[in-house]
Amino acid sequence: MSDVSLTVNGKRVSGSAEDRTLLVHFLREHLGLTGTHVGCDTSQCGACVVHVDGRAVKSCTMLAVQASGSTIVTIEGLADGAELHPVQAAFKEHHGLQCGFCTPGMIMTATDMIARHPEGLDEATVRAELEGNICRCTGYHNIVKAILAASETMAKGAKGKAKQAA
């Protein structure tokens, strides 16, 4: 057993877990944050993607104790109260989900992707960057649309803020 201390969605949390406990199980079972899903459990499908110290990682392929000391953001940490994060809003607007199982991972991957491409995204880049996330409902068309739309909205938002600051 080891002590695991994390900052999750802005809150400091700690607990004790077996060393073999995966981060995704710690989030779901110890912290009750069940928005992060376990899909394939073999690091392929991306349903478990969360941000660890600002980078998208597959939480089914990391031990909770490895993450101790890190800052984590999960799907529960994106919305601002009742106001959806722009990526969440875009998935809703563009029908980027059907059953919703892959959606938390898709959205965490998308927010990371948009952050890493401040110059903007094109369809080919989005499709290539989504290779670690699998949707088994209907394909990726609307997911790609949603990510492109969110990327534009967020770029405009950033410009607006810059203007306000100036």
């Binding site: 060393d19 073999r20 031990l63 290779e131």
Partner: protein, 265 residues
């Protein structure tokens, strides 16, 4: 996963000591080791995490000399601006590993110490004539990669960095398995002051290897046309559900041509 004891090392020296615990294994990005533990293909008693050691981080470029710390992630290698200037081929290669989330965790030291026969870095380091620096010594890439999942590393020896001189020209081309993203065939070619080197991953029965045929043809003329009609022997190549040895032999020539064209572009 079987029960395991986790240790976070605070120095390379401490990691060497911790490795003496039972059947301990080093943990870096964990992108191979953790899946292997989950499927119980690996069952170490202890894990020694070196991924946060400051001494093992980052890409350093000094003139043409590149040194990459063992715990540098694929993402960091793929986006390093200094590296992109002197050896864009290696940054490009790193951008082709796994998917973005895997690249955020997986490390160069972990990749080469594991020496998966379909991993990308072994081909790159062999073609670059790199030196692998460990807690004990320096090993030439030609002597480091020994076979399937086998390296020259001794018990308790830790890869701390890799170093190489950026060649005048280099490129990597890989034909990926569409599911795993591992190479069915990957070819890394370089043209430097010591001549042409071409290393092949994903194909050899005994892991990564240098192709004499490609190197001989390119030594005369470093141009894709020099490989026209090149026959790579299928002997010693892997046959599996993904591709036969003959198919891989053909792919090696195709990937080598594309790599040379890209290195000259």
């Amino acid at each position: 996963m079987y029960s395991v004891n986790y240790h976070r090392a605070s120095s390379v020296a401490e990691a060497v000591k911790l490795l003496k615990n039972g059947d301990a294994k080093l943990l870096s990005g964990g992108m191979t080791l953790i899946p292997a533990m989950k499927t119980r293909l690996a069952a170490p008693s202890d894990l020694v995490d070196v991924s946060r050691l400051k001494d093992l981080q980052g890409v350093k470029v000094s003139g043409k000399t590149v040194t990459i710390g063992a715990a540098t992630t694929h993402y960091e290698v793929s986006t390093d601006e200094k590296l992109k200037k002197v050896c864009p081929a290696l940054a490009h290669m790193a951008s082709l590993i796994g998917d973005p989330a895997v690249r955020h965790k997986g490390t160069i030291g972990g990749s080469i110490a594991n020496n998966d026969p379909a991993a990308d870095y072994p081909a790159a380091l062999l073609a670059l004539g790199a030196t692998i620096i460990t807690s004990k010594r320096e090993i030439a890439a030609d002597k480091f990669f020994k076979g399937l999942f086998e390296t020259a590393l001794k018990e308790g020896e830790i890869v701390t960095a890799v170093s190489f001189t950026a060649p005048a020209k280099a490129a990597y081309q890989k034909f990926r398995n569409p599911a795993s993203r591992y190479a069915i065939v990957g070819v890394f070619v370089t043209k430097g002051k010591d001549g042409v080197r071409a290393a092949v991953t994903g194909a050899g029965d005994d892991g990564v290897f240098r192709s004499k045929e490609i190197e001989a043809a390119l030594a005369k003329n470093f141009d894709a046309s020099a490989l026209d009609g090149l026959k790579v022997p299928a002997k010693g190549l892997m046959s599996d559900i993904h591709a036969s040895a003959d198919y891989r032999a053909n792919l090696i020539a195709v990937m080598a041509k594309r790599a040379v064209a890209s290195a000259n572009a």
